[in-house]
């Protein structure tokens, strides 16, 4: 199957995709997809209200200002975003456009200056820090650009930490951690320390950790940015798989065009606002 991926009617340059399009099982109807890709701009609250109810992620008029000294910098200027349950959504845009800021807010680790964020139908902006931490623990898996593994712990122990936080005990945590490492193809590296793993392997351990406890939301910030193309490829494959697995909603900030074909939707952020059209 060959097709020009459309993004709001703008043809995507196939050369951007290093993987031959034919090789990819695109499990969506491009026509249907086109309708999906209508991203909502800041100035259309009526539309957003209709869609918040069913989405796994629903952000309404999210604003974020950073105060540095006497100057206030508006990093997000009113962002509306819906991600339906089970979708893999990419967040793209130039550096400094506010992607990380938005992701942090949507993941409940940064409090927005204004607006509201609903995750799985719950308004996280109204939660106490304690309740929010519990919500993150139960529902969100994180993947970071810098892996953020615990350097003193082996691969399997890194995964175990997350499992234990989620209530797994003793040997069942170890067993489950090994299952997760197996899933990311690292069963044979279970006892390696992070410093003895390649970048891609580290990120796969981090993915295994993010999958601990089977959270319904996965939030990732540039998971392949620190990886060379070979390592990046393995991680992308994994993310692709992960997105296909039932019911899991994935929100991914990336500059990596190789991930685009795995995505259900792509949202462009520029200068703190969602763009209806990609910049290039």
């Amino acid at each position: 199957m060959t097709s020009n991926l459309n993004f709001d009617g703008v043809p995507l340059d196939p050369t951007l995709l290093p993987i031959p399009m034919t090789a990819i099982n695109l499990s969506f109807n491009p026509l249907h997809r086109k309708a999906d890709l209508v991203t909502v701009t800041a100035s259309s609250p009526s539309l957003s209200q209709e869609t918040t109810a069913q989405g796994a992620i629903a952000a309404t008029n999210v604003r974020m200002s950073y105060q540095s000294g006497s100057e206030v910098f508006h990093a997000l200027k009113g962002v509306d975003l819906q991600v339906p349950t089970g979708d893999m959504q990419l967040l793209m845009g130039p550096s400094g456009s506010g992607k990380t800021t938005l992701l942090s807010i949507l993941a409940g680790i940064l409090t927005p200056t204004g607006g509201s964020v609903k995750l799985l139908g719950q308004d996280i902006t109204k939660m106490s820090p304690k309740a929010l931490a519990k919500f993150r623990l139960e529902n969100i898996g994180f993947i970071f650009q810098g892996f953020n593994l615990f350097p003193a712990l082996s691969a399997v122990e890194n995964v175990e930490v997350a499992l234990k936080l989620k209530g797994y005990r003793g040997s069942s945590a170890r067993k489950e951690a090994l299952v997760l490492l197996e899933q990311v193809g690292l069963a044979n590296k279970a006892n390696n320390l992070p410093r003895d793993l390649s970048g891609g392997q580290k990120q796969r351990v981090a993915i295994a950790r993010a999958l601990a406890g089977n959270p319904s939301l996965i939030m990732a910030d540039e998971p392949t940015a620190a990886l060379d193309s070979q390592n990046g490829h393995a991680v992308i494959e994994l993310l692709r798989q992960l997105a296909k697995e039932g019911g899991r909603t994935v929100l991914l900030v990336t500059h990596d065009p190789r991930i685009m074909d795995a995505a259900d939707r792509i949202t462009y952020l520029e200068d703190g606002l969602i763009q209806t059209k990609p910049h290039h």
Partner: protein, 431 residues
């Protein structure tokens, strides 16, 4: 009913935190060892200061502790064992007549100046007692026999005092006042760190030494009409050294004595007996052995600055240890901020993070305490042997220091926790 949710929760926190806590702590072994060395010295400083204080206080009252007397009768102006006015010797007879008293013995405390064979002076404390007595001289004998004191001008000194008296062995000679002296034995564990060296002698010899001093000597006697008769005696004529020393005379009623030791008849109520004794002998105070010992220790601990100085040293050790542990934990936390941020982002509660730091603090306290106690016991064995100074580490002190160590480590952990609670989990997305 199963376990409560709270207990489950605590268990999870523990399980989640323990691996990270331990592995992060031992991640850099050199830094960990340097930290442990710091804790070791701080804990040792605290222990040794307290041990010296305890050993010092113990030494001030050992003569009382070793005695087997039920009661000690002393002048009511007693301040501590070595600071007390005299009693008239006639009180000995009075005490013996009090019903319920089985036996009495006299102890004399006198000051003297010891001139060693080279002619150097040192002050000594002359202690006179009956070598045949049962109640006083019950300390361990290192060398020689108590009975040798029955001969004139023969004395015992503590083995640990030999050096300060500039003599080295049994058989060495010296003078007190202008009278000769020969060491016929050595005692053990009788040296008071607070006092000049003790010279043990028979009552007669001790009395002779005190009268031989070139000093005025006021003797007071209570007369039957309750008035006091005092006489000032001077013995200022240096004795001709070519003549043999006169035999010490027996004590008479005009000689002041220091303590009367009482053995009660068996089954006698000590409280009643002491009341009777105090009534029979005006202006006296009657202590049990324990009371006199405690009063003496208390004097040195509270009324002198010794307790304060050593206690101050212990406090300094505690503070130094706290700063070291605080510094190490704070640095460790600062090094692992991203990890703590990641835990927070993942949804770990603050308690998980506290428990990690707390566990590290506990590891540091236990692993600092054990070698430090070993060091202190080794040191105390050495100082006792080599210096005659006792660093007394009682089980209560050891337990107390352990509690202090834990408090010290946990206290500084709270300081390090401050750093983590301020961590913004949003740092995790910053590359």
């Amino acid at each position: 009913m199963g376990e409560s949710p709270v207990r489950f929760y605590c268990f999870y926190i523990y399980m989640a935190s323990s691996t990270i806590a331990r592995k992060n702590l031992f991640e850099d072994p050199i830094r960990f060892l340097v930290a442990q060395a710091g804790i070791l010295f701080a804990v040792s400083l605290v222990t040794i200061q307290l041990g010296i204080l305890k050993g010092f206080l113990r030494s001030t009252s050992m003569l009382v502790e070793y005695s087997s007397a039920d009661l000690w009768v002393a002048n009511k102006d007693l301040v501590h064992f070595e600071l007390v006015s005299s009693l008239p010797a006639e009180y000995l007879k009075k005490a013996t007549e009090v019903p319920g008293v089985e036996k009495t013995e006299v102890v004399l405390l006198r000051a003297g100046r010891w001139r060693d064979p080279k002619g150097n002076l040192s002050t000594v404390r002359i202690i006179g007692f009956n070598p045949e007595g049962q109640m006083f001289a019950r300390w361990p004998m290192g060398e020689g026999q108590l009975a040798s004191l029955n001969q004139s001008y023969k004395v015992l000194v503590d083995r640990a005092s030999l050096a300060s008296l500039d003599v080295s062995k049994v058989g060495d000679q010296a003078t007190i006042g202008n009278l000769p002296l020969e060491i016929v034995g050595l005692t053990e564990d009788t040296k008071s760190t607070a006092s000049s060296a003790f010279v043990f002698a028979s009552l007669e010899t001790a009395n002779a030494y005190s009268l031989a001093e070139l000093s005025s000597n006021i003797t007071c006697r209570r007369l039957p009409d309750n008035s006091t008769d005092c006489s000032n005696q001077f013995s200022n004529a240096p004795r001709d050294r070519n003549l043999p020393a006169p035999e010490p005379r027996r004590l008479n009623l005009s000689d002041p004595i220091t303590y009367i030791l009482i053995k009660a008849k068996s089954g006698e109520d000590l409280e009643q007996l002491r009341t009777k004794l105090a009534q029979a002998m005006p202006d006296t105070v009657v202590y049990t052995r324990k009371e006199l010992s405690e009063k003496t220790r208390n004097y040195w601990e509270v009324r002198t600055s010794v307790g304060f100085i050593l206690g101050f040293g212990a406090v300094v050790g505690f503070v130094v240890g706290m700063v070291i542990v605080g510094q190490i934990l704070y640095a460790s936390v600062a090094d692992h901020l991203r990890e703590f941020g990641t835990l927070k982002a993942m949804g770990a509660s603050n308690w998980v993070i506290y428990s990690i730091i707390l566990e590290q603090a506990l590891w540091m306290s236990v692993l600092g305490y054990i070698p430090s106690m070993a060091l202190c016991f080794a040191l105390s064995a050495w100082t006792l042997k080599a210096k005659g100074v006792m660093i007394l580490i009682e089980p209560t002190t050891a337990a107390g220091v352990f509690v202090l160590t834990v408090v010290m480590c946990v206290g500084s952990a709270l300081f390090a926790v401050q750093r983590v609670t301020r961590v913004d989990p949003a740092i995790v997305f910053k590359a």
